[in-house]
Homo-oligomer: 303 residues x 2
């Protein structure tokens, strides 16, 4: 019998993963979207990334955006980084929580950050030292945890090794990420079952894309296997602009619908999330893949 | 631990559920689509429905289409019916297998066929007698098994009662259908767990729509709960034309991808299914919601 956790934390990644491949939005537009997202009741928001502004122009306003976040004091904001230098910039901008990405697949690691998986794993020690010195928390996100666009299937032991190293090196949280949207439920369960024993009592999160339609099935399998933290993006924003129609992150509203119906608390309001997805769709100016944005909630009572 | 069956039978419903709300396709176009579907290796195809041609003009060519099916002798064809008269027409057209639909929700039953659930359930006896006299098999599909568009949530006991009655009255197979695409995994597991004990050793199938993004998650939960038969439609065809972008049946190629990756045999070829989805998309002339049709298969090896 499947036993689900009573509560799952959703981290809203629309402003980072959702927007990173879109045409750059003005900071003011991001703040409009942010206000709609905060109104959903979500308690964690990945607000931006401190990475190369030439590589990711959509997030080049990271420092400027950060100045506006203090106005929203019900939310824990975090920023994604790919290097110690990025971590320093995020901390200087006031973030109390950072995500550091390590690609489990060497080819993806080299393509993404110009370093091997081993080198990127070793850098966890620096990132943790820098963050902890500033009183900030570090989550290590293991990218291409299931598959790599260049190398094909990732040996699960590589993700397990990174998770163990991150735990040893002082990370505060671990997450496994299906970077290219190829994971499926059985492989999710298998990897969660292998990662959990090596991360002591650190919280374990998961990050799925719906590129092959299985995003919510993977999220459900992850939660059933004991994952209590999930990333999602309102509207399902995050598709690659070079693959029109290919969906991006799992849509927050679709995830909230599923979890609510499964009796799992998220603290996130469904109508407000659908409203935020509509704001995202209007601001980016193209149709988003969210199911709930079109279909709406189900009739839950006839009263 | 989740134990999945070694094999799941997929029934392709593109030609019936997929097309029933589309502008009518010429019979010749349906035969082109049928040839592409047969090439996928799928062993069961719901080819059409014998229902009111004025209510469902897209399937008004049921008898004409049926004459062409004998050419495909690797496949078991079936037809959907809603009344004893429809069953007689299907049998006269040569079908050896029929699906008879009973709505678990009274309001949907009355709107759909002008009869209460009780009346529709009682008619199972006639349908079975008519079919078995002709040497044909009857599957009873329990529609609105989770939710009704008018009544809201369906009391699960109503679906259990229909399943028990159908078994008692001689049905050869039972299926539970998420007619409006609102089911979620825990409710799927719960209903499967309640229906299985009352249907003796009859095969149990499930039918999901992806309207709220959870179609594959429901299919996975159903299979994990012991369902060994799933309906699907190439391209995810089957959305309501009055709700643009709302997705229809779960896409066969997305389901095949997920099941293959979970180690479950289907006998259905993935590239051929993606090709059939492309044929369906071309013939109906609008974009279909399938994920694999856009994203393609994952890189499964680097060899």
């Amino acid at each position: 019998m499947t036993v689900l956790p009573a509560e799952v934390s959703i981290r809203e990644v629309c402003l980072r993963d959702g927007l990173q491949l879109e045409d750059p939005l003005p900071t003011a537009a991001k703040l409009e979207l942010l206000a709609a997202i905060v109104a959903t009741g979500v308690r964690e928001i990945e607000a931006t990334a401190f990475v190369s502004p030439t590589k990711v122009p959509a997030l080049a306003d990271a420092a400027e955006l950060s100045e506006h976040l203090r106005a929203f004091d019900t939310v824990e904001f975090s920023a994604l980084v790919a290097s110690p230098n990025g971590a320093r910039r995020a901390l200087a901008a006031g973030f109390g929580s950072i995500e550091y990405v390590v690609s489990a697949a060497d080819a993806h690691s080299r393509a993404n950050v110009g370093r091997s998986t081993t080198e990127a794993t070793e850098a966890i020690a620096d990132i943790v030292a820098i963050a902890h010195d500033a009183g900030a928390a570090v989550e290590v996100i293991i990218a291409t945890a299931w598959d790599c666009p260049f190398d094909g299937p990732t040996n699960p032991q590589r993700s397990v090794d990174i998770a163990a190293a991150a735990t040893e090196l002082g990370a505060d949280r671990i997450a496994i990420a299906d970077t290219i949207g190829t994971a499926t439920p059985v492989r999710v369960t298998e990897l969660v079952d292998r990662v959990r024993p090596v991360i002591a009592d650190l919280p374990l999160g998961a990050h799925f894309h719906n590129t092959r339609g299985a995003g919510l099935a993977c999220a459900y399998a992850a939660v059933a296997a004991g994952v209590t933290r999930l990333d999602a993006s309102v509207g399902g924003l995050g598709g690659c602009p070079f693959a029109p129609g290919a969906t991006g992150n799992i849509a927050t509203e679709d995830l909230v619908y599923l979890l609510r119906d499964c009796g799992v608390r998220t603290g996130v309001d469904l109508p407000a999330t659908i409203a935020a997805a509509a704001v995202a769709q209007r601001l980016v100016g193209h149709e988003l893949p969210s199911a709930l944005l079109r279909a709406g909630d189900r009739l839950t009572s006839t009263a």
